[in-house]
Amino acid sequence: MTIAATECLLRMYDERYGLEDYQGGVPRWCTGCGDNAILAAVQRLCRDENLRPEKMVFVSGIGCSSRFPHYMKSYGFHGIHGRALPIAEGIKMVRPDLHVFVNTGDGDCCSIGAAHWIHAIRYNMNMTVMLHDNQIYGLTKMQASPTSPKGLKSNTTPRGAYLDGLQPLTVTLGVQNVSFVAQAVDWIPELLYDILSAAFHHKGFSFVRILQRCPEWLPNLFDPWMKDPQRLLLLHGEGGLRISPALSKAYQNQQQHDPSDLNRARELASVIDPIPVGILYRNTDVPCYEDLRRTGQPRSHDFIKAGLEAEFDKFTVWPQESGSRTTAA
């Protein structure tokens, strides 16, 4: 009996997963869609971390990017538009043993789900959040999103978007309890992987904004940045990314950045051109809401019964009290 159990345990820990073990349905994104690159990076991360597929939940809202969970072989929750974060919070609250990932679009997160986004940052629950920011509504066919740049022509802004785009990084960094903020671009897989890996390893709400190409609706949106490597600013250094020599050659615009420096992170976040890529902020000291709220009390039946009886006692009128007295009449 004991031997069998140990063996079983050994086998469990021995089990190595390959990339194919994380492949769910065949992705139906357009060719060249940046979501494919994000999926590839995530699957690699799962393999390298040897995550048990049944111990992961990918939660999403609605949008092209929110199809993500279907393409993973794990548990997934493809919810409703804008509400991925509170669903993920509910899961994490009762199941700290699960790895929770969230895939959300710029409309999903920054528009309809904006209230949840702000509060999710503040709750700081341990989960990895990928904002697939293509600066457009993909699924509903090309309407402006809050992150669309001013002047962008779309089906709802045929003469160009009227307002400046909302900056997800500055918003995130402005919220109390922010604990991890990074930015990646889908077209540099190596950095995307490293950044997602750092996000995964951070305990807390790890927010990664990924600039994601949507060749279907905005085929040239990121061209200026893709064509000119100087227009990316790679953040690296102690506590941040380590950039490989090969990558350093291609992307020479680099800057040392200490991710514990919140003010500097905020400055960097407000830079639109060049695009900062890397870990802007990390603070491992912010408590997680699920840890604050979990009392650690055992949920045994006796325990619940005792709690309930104690409450009943407060409100009970015992028969002998009335029986033993005479009225003042």
């Binding site: 919810g79 409703i80 509910g90 619940i304």
Partner: protein, 637 residues
Amino acid sequence: MNDVALAKSLSSKVLQPRSSGRAKTLTTLNEHVVEVISDSGEGAQRCGQSLGAIAAKMGNGVWTVEIIPAEIRPPARSVAGASGNCIRLGAGRVTNGGNETDLVIAFNEQVLLGRVRSGELKPDCIILLESMWRENSDPRIVGSYVATHDELVSAGYRVLEIPMEHECRKLVPDARRGKNMFALGVLCSIYSLDLQLAREQIALTFGKKAASVITSNVRLLEAGHEWAEANLDFKFRIPATPATEPQIVINGNTALALGILASGMEVCAMYPITPATSASHYLSDVFEKVGGVVHQAEDEIGACAFAIGASYAGKCTVTITSGPGYSLKQEAIGLAVMGEIPLVVVNVQRGGPSTGQPTKAEQGDLLSAMFGSHGDAPKVVIAPSTIEDCFYSMITARKIAETFNMVVVVLSDANLATSQQPFPRPRFSESWLAPPFDQSELPAGLKPYQWDQTTGLARRFVPGQPRGMHTLTGLAHDQLSHVAYDPEINHEGIRARSLKLAALQKTLKTPPVFGDDSGDLLVIGWGSTRGAIEEAVESVRAEGHKVSSLHFTIIQPLPAGIKEILQRFTRVMTIEGNWSDDPQDEIIDETNRRYSALAMLLRARYLVDVDCWSEVKGQQIRPNMVRRVLLEKLRQH
């Protein structure tokens, strides 16, 4: 007993000039409705609640109703500002707030005026009125007091002025804090309640405060008692039938919260909204002690989504709200229906639409509970009809939700939420609690929505279970949870989710008829109106009328056997606290009349001519209103 006749017979006895020095009259009553009202912050609520608790301890039937002003701090002495409690005391069990008030103790004439104008007092109600305003330095106040006093006297009320302020000042510097205990003493004398029990109640209420606070309040209580003994020439006694088993006295919201505790649910996600909030307040205080969490989300959508996430992850979860919050949750509720995630949604109904009447009761959300969320979204709807039901309904709701992987909506209302009533102390049962969720490996080949062709049921998958990986989706999906727009597959899923209601319906018992099984008129109600309806039915039956009633606590699905009951009565009608057009209105006729929610449902389902009477005044439906309606209906041909 006919209350009006009773009150009249009393009043002739009580209205002797109090200085006459004659012996007191002691009248034995079957019941009395008494209310205590003041500006908010003067403690009338505490006085009323204490009175209810003391009477309950003596073994009286009790039902207390909170009188709440719509504003947190309405201006002092304002007509709309009455704050307090209305307490119905009875010799036997009391199942509702009863009829209009028989005796009121008011701290100023303005709050009293508000109650008079909204028709809350019986025509010959005894009024005990704080007399201090007569000597006020502001002549306008004196004028208003005298005018109101005289107006009430000439309207036939028995007005007795009592110098509460004056008497209390002899004991405490600030009579505003303490007058309520003086009033309690007066009421203890009037209703011949045990003063020792009152002292104990004060000790309990102020238990967390300094001993001097208790002593001072007890002194005020005794002073009130002495004053009434010496100055009032009447006393009542309502015989008590001491309970033989322990009773608990709580309001409906506390009962809901205790029910959540007892159901074994672990998480309640909510956003504050009247009148649901007090349930969450209480739960926040006690839930953590048993390892539970009350999560105050950023809004109701977030709360519902949070609850759905927690339920999906293996724990059945509850979210509590009222009208506007319920509307916000609708889309998420549809997701839970589609994903077949067990979820309990409590809606403590208030007046609608929109912000409506936050503190007032209404039964306006039945249809949105049943049919809310777009598309076909079958869910279970249950409506507790007593405070006790509020407790047990949470246990039932959790069980149904987890057995059928469905959303269960529990419709309480502002009336149940704030009313108190004693009921037998629940005896804990292991079977109340949620079983630990299954984390074992799933059988090879089992699909996440392997719908049983007869019942629509499929085994629930919980993340963490090996071999169960799939992506739950709100999109149309096949048994594998794959997104599918195939017409057959969409049909299959909708059918399965619908069949679950039928499967649940097969397990339900036909509710009993109150009264005879057949007759001239059947009255049907749901939710909090039960006590008032049954009391009215009992009273007209006592006069020989062939009237019975039927009350639904599970409204979706309706149990079998209802049509047969309806057919055994010549006429059928519902009594509801929601809107229905009055057929007497000029432009209303059979082709455009809007029926009350339940009446409409019953007409549609059973093809029986079900009439309705309803009211949306935000007041509780009283037995004598129902009585009037029944007699009127019986007169019609």
